[in-house]
Symmetry: C2
Subunit: 152 residues, 2 copies
């Protein structure tokens, strides 16, 4: 499994949290994170330009993986539904690649290429917080799929 | 504004994150956190017993505040909707009290007493993560209501 995100991880507590989940995930799943350069600053550049840059970067990093895009307007799922989505996707034995956009969101081309667009929440979170939430839900999925208890 | 939650904050990175937002919120809003003892262990006790205990504890801590309950089955809102909900609620000049349940969720009495039930996500998060998300959204609301930029 891979997660690709745009913009750097600046917030220390989130970094610590992410490292923690990556470590916990090890017995279940090999997860790699790929940080891509943000498409630019929205004050100086047009949203579309930023989205195009991020589209190019993402498509370059995409090989044979199944692309899943995180987007506020995507499908909302319960944790159990998310776990069973992961389980089904794994049957194809293709690697999953989750992509988290920058603050402009993804270009429509990216959403079109995605097998699935998932919404973690209707609320807006920073890309850093979205990454933390996603990785926590992946960990929760592994616990659900293995029938293990997890509630802290 | 107050946030009441059940069960302790065990995870250090979440604690750090919460402290960070509380500090950032200071210029905008006085926010106090109240930790209540969890109603019990779901392996040993019935869900209803736990919910009843947490109901008693919550109602005891509730004075004249407007109760808002966080619940997966609650209303989902965008961040802008959440901000305008906070703004409207403040016009009544009553203090807002947000309540986050333990892993059994709240007793129906609690939901009935609430002025509003809000869902942060259809996905399940730990009470710790829910607290972090809520406080981040409160901070985001303050930035939105003050027309300030915030995207990290």
């Amino acid at each position: 499994m891979k997660i690709v995100y745009f913009g750097s991880l600046k917030t220390k507590f989130i970094k610590t949290g992410i490292e923690r989940y990556v470590k916990w995930l090890k017995p279940y799943e090999r997860l790699s994170l790929l940080e891509l350069k943000s498409g630019g600053d929205v004050n100086r550049e047009q949203v579309e330009n930023i989205q195009k840059k991020e589209r190019e970067l993402l498509f370059k990093s995409l090989k044979s993986e199944t692309l899943i895009v995180l987007d506020e307007a995507g499908d909302d799922m319960t944790s159990v539904e998310f776990a069973s989505f992961i389980e089904k996707s794994r049957i194809n034995s293709k690697e999953l690649l989750f992509a988290i956009g920058g603050y402009t969101g993804f270009h429509t081309d990216v959403k079109k290429k995605a097998v699935k667009t998932i919404s973690l929440s209707k609320m807006t979170f920073t890309h850093e917080m979205a990454l933390l939430l996603l990785i926590e839900q992946i960990y929760r999925s592994m616990k659900i799929l293995n029938g293990e208890k997890y509630h802290y």
